[in-house]
């Protein structure tokens, strides 16, 4: 049973790990392979700050709220494990700021200690009249992706640095199931007009005195278009760019100025922060995550694809819930192919 995962960002690697963890002992012939044209530290996930926070609105996708919650709860449970540091996992508190009152988000009870900001706190942020404080998780891509890679390598999963041009290419080599975790470039494998790049740019600075994330919102402009500051374990990420349909991965001077000026205005101490890097990435934006099976007829064979892409700017936030869902889809494929006598679960 050869399973090929396309994509080595947070979605591809976590889906691979989830499937291997759940099925390797049940399916002795399971061979897992990861194909990608980019590996850490060159994936989209590597540029993300790593803060767990969904969008403000669930866009009508209750399933996604559930996957977000599963992810948060899973990693909250791992906070005290010895692997946490290596994974880049830690707790962080911070502020969401608005210029007008807004309804509480659907994730208010998922995070810890969610509350409204007090008047004294709001005085710290001139121009913002409403806000939230809560404690959430950070899962830094720069640490998490290498950690996932190591776990997979330990499990004998093979990695191939290769740009896959079609699903057919893999099936003709004898792959039985393909996991399509190709992120923003999924359209190259199968056209999907709903998938668009949501270009972001960030400035990395040294600001070790920053202990809180600060995310501002402009309800009229939309998500990620308002300045945000997210301190990591080594450097702090300044951002606030979201350009729908822009495929450029080049850093843009105008965007740089916009990020720098707006973040320094939000937090004057940043004026003294040292800039140590800059990065642009393409969020794989879609009205909803595509997480579903597709059976493809190839001659007299039925090839199975599990799509798991389109996680926008909340890939890290939602990834584990999606990986589990992808694993469930894989389980149903195995059942149909009679590779599994019984579904995975406690043996009687």
């Amino acid at each position: 049973m050869r399973v090929a995962v396309i994509g080595a960002g947070v979605i591809g690697l976590s889906s691979a790990l989830c499937i291997h963890e759940q099925f390797h002992s049940l399916v002795p012939s399971l061979e897992l392979e990861v194909y990608a044209d980019r590996f850490t530290p060159h994936t989209t996930s590597d540029g993300a700050a790593g803060l767990w926070q969904p969008y403000l609105s669930d866009r009508g996708n209750l399933q996604e709220t559930l996957w977000n919650k599963e992810t948060f709860d899973y990693f909250l449970g791992h906070l005290h494990s010895p692997a946490a540091k290596e994974m880049g996992l830690f707790l962080i508190s911070g502020y969401n700021l608005f210029t007008e009152p807004v309804p509480d988000p659907c994730w208010k009870n998922i995070v810890l200690g969610f509350r409204n900001l007090t008047p004294k706190e709001l005085e710290l942020f001139p121009g913002y009249s409403y806000g939230w404080f809560n404690t959430a998780l950070m899962l830094e891509g720069r640490s998490y992706l290498p950690w996932l890679t190591n776990r997979l390598m330990q499990r004998g999963v093979k990695f191939f640095h290769k740009k896959v041009e079609s699903f057919q290419e893999l099936f003709s080599q004898g792959v039985d199931v393909v996991l399509n975790c190709s992120g923003v470039r999924a359209g190259n494998l199968q056209p999907d007009p709903e998938l668009q790049p949501g270009r972001g740019q960030i400035i990395k600075v040294l600001a070790p005195w920053m202990k809180h994330f600060i995310i501002t919102h402009d309800m009229k402009s939309g998500i990620y278009k308002s300045p945000y500051i997210i301190p990591g374990s080594e450097f702090t990420v300044l951002g606030g760019i979201y350009q729908h349909g822009n495929w450029s991965e080049e850093n843009n001077a105008k965007d740089h100025k916009s990020i720098w000026d707006s973040c320094c205005q939000l937090l004057p101490p940043l004026q003294k922060a040292k800039i140590v890097g800059e990065w642009s990435g393409l969020r794989p934006a879609r009205p909803s995550v595509r997480l579903e099976r597709e059976s493809i007829r190839l001659g007299n064979l039925q090839a199975e694809v599990i799509h798991n892409y389109g996680h926008g700017g909340f890939g890290i936030t939602i990834h584990w819930g999606c990986a589990m869902a992808a694993a469930r889809l894989f389980g149903s494929i195995l059942q149909e192919k009679k590779q599994l006598a019984t579904p995975p679960g406690p043996r009687l």
Binding site: L79, R115, E121, T135, A207, Q271, K272, A273
Partner: protein, 343 residues
């Protein structure tokens, strides 16, 4: 008296902030800071500098609250300005957790810090041995940066700073018009204050940059305070111990206690061990006194005995001491006028 000469003895957070307040309230004064030690070798340099007040048994609560409020307000403004990183001042959020519910659920300072509230059940799950907790946001003054910033501000006003061991306040009477005693634990020797006693604190300063929140056990013995580059792990409160030598067994014990509150600290690197002697007293001594010998008088203002709460109240007590210095100078100028009037 054109330019009253004021000597401030002591260059820890109290001495430097008091000197700065004096330059602000009395711009015509010429201020000199005299100290045996300067940053990074003061008691203040060992402290984490967290703004979480210590309660002094014999100081009225409203006075402690006023001191804390003035200090918090002053530092909050700096923390939100371009000066913040130079001054080493930053906001930090976290939790104070209790193994059993404290008698006083609302400390006197709860409405001064930001966002004070009881911890939720979900938050308490992170602390299985603790049953009650408080969450809030407060400020931290990292040392040495804060002391160095105060020194820089002082130098900009023309304040002189001089390394000198003052053995007796009286030795300054011929050079200075007013002496301000911010000698901390040194006041035990300097003015023979037997009510002053050390409370020894050993701390570890470690690199653990993923720790973004403070955690403090309500018993005051175990705490984790993330600073700019290092996290301070504590601690001990050994009343009457004068030893400045780190103790290896204590280091192990502090590390274990902190790891049980925050397991990820097992991965902490570059552990440095420091010891400071908190200059403790039942009440902070902010008071005027006049020393006299053979008809010669020397006005003195005392500002010492802040124990475990120095950073939390430093600006408030510095303001009060500066005000008392102003009174001393007015009194001296009154005498000058009076004696001239006699001619």
């Amino acid at each position: 008296m054109a330019s009253p000469k004021v000597a401030v003895v002591g260059a820890g957070v109290i001495g430097l902030s008091t000197a700065l307040c004096i330059t602000e309230t009395c711009p015509s004064c010429s201020v000199t800071v005299l100290s045996e030690q300067f940053s990074p070798n003061t008691t203040s340099d060992v402290a984490a500098g967290m703004l979480i007040p210590h309660t002094y048994p014999d100081t009225p609560i409203h006075r402690q609250k006023q001191w804390f409020k003035e200090t918090f307000t002053y530092l909050l403004a700096i923390s939100n300005s371009a000066e913040a990183s130079d001054a080493g001042i930053h906001l930090v959020s976290g939790w104070q957790v209790f193994k059993s519910t404290p008698k006083e659920e609302l400390p006197f300072w709860s409405d001064i810090v930001l966002g004070f509230r009881a911890m939720s059940e979900a938050e308490l799950l992170k602390f299985p041995q603790h049953r009650f907790g408080q969450a809030f946001t407060t400020l931290k003054c990292d040392c040495p940066p804060y002391l160095l910033w105060l020194e820089k501000r002082l130098k900009a006003t023309g304040t002189q700073m001089s390394t000198r061991k003052v053995a007796d306040l009286w030795e300054l009477h011929s050079e200075y018009d007013v002496v301000v005693n911010c000698a901390g634990l040194g006041a035990h020797q300097l003015v023979g204050d037997k009510q002053l006693f050390p409370v020894r604190g050993q701390v570890l300063k470690v690199r653990a940059p993923w720790v973004k929140q403070f955690i403090r056990d309500g018993d005051g013995l175990t705490y984790i305070y993330p600073g700019i580059h290092r996290v301070t792990l504590g601690g001990t409160r050994e009343k009457g111990s004068w030893s400045l030598c780190p103790d290896a067994g204590t280091t192990r014990d502090i590390f274990d206690r902190c790891c049980s509150l925050e397991p990820s600290l097992q991965g902490a690197q570059d552990i440095e061990v420091k010891v400071g002697l908190r200059p403790s007293r039942q009440c902070v001594r902010v008071q005027r006194e006049v020393l006299s010998q053979g008809g010669v008088k020397l006005p003195v203002v005392h500002n010492y005995g802040h124990g475990a709460g120095g950073f939390s109240v430093h600006r408030g007590t510095a303001n009060e001491a500066a005000h008392l210095v102003g009174e001393c100078i007015s009194a001296l100028q009154g005498k000058c006028l009076a004696s001239r009037a006699k001619l």
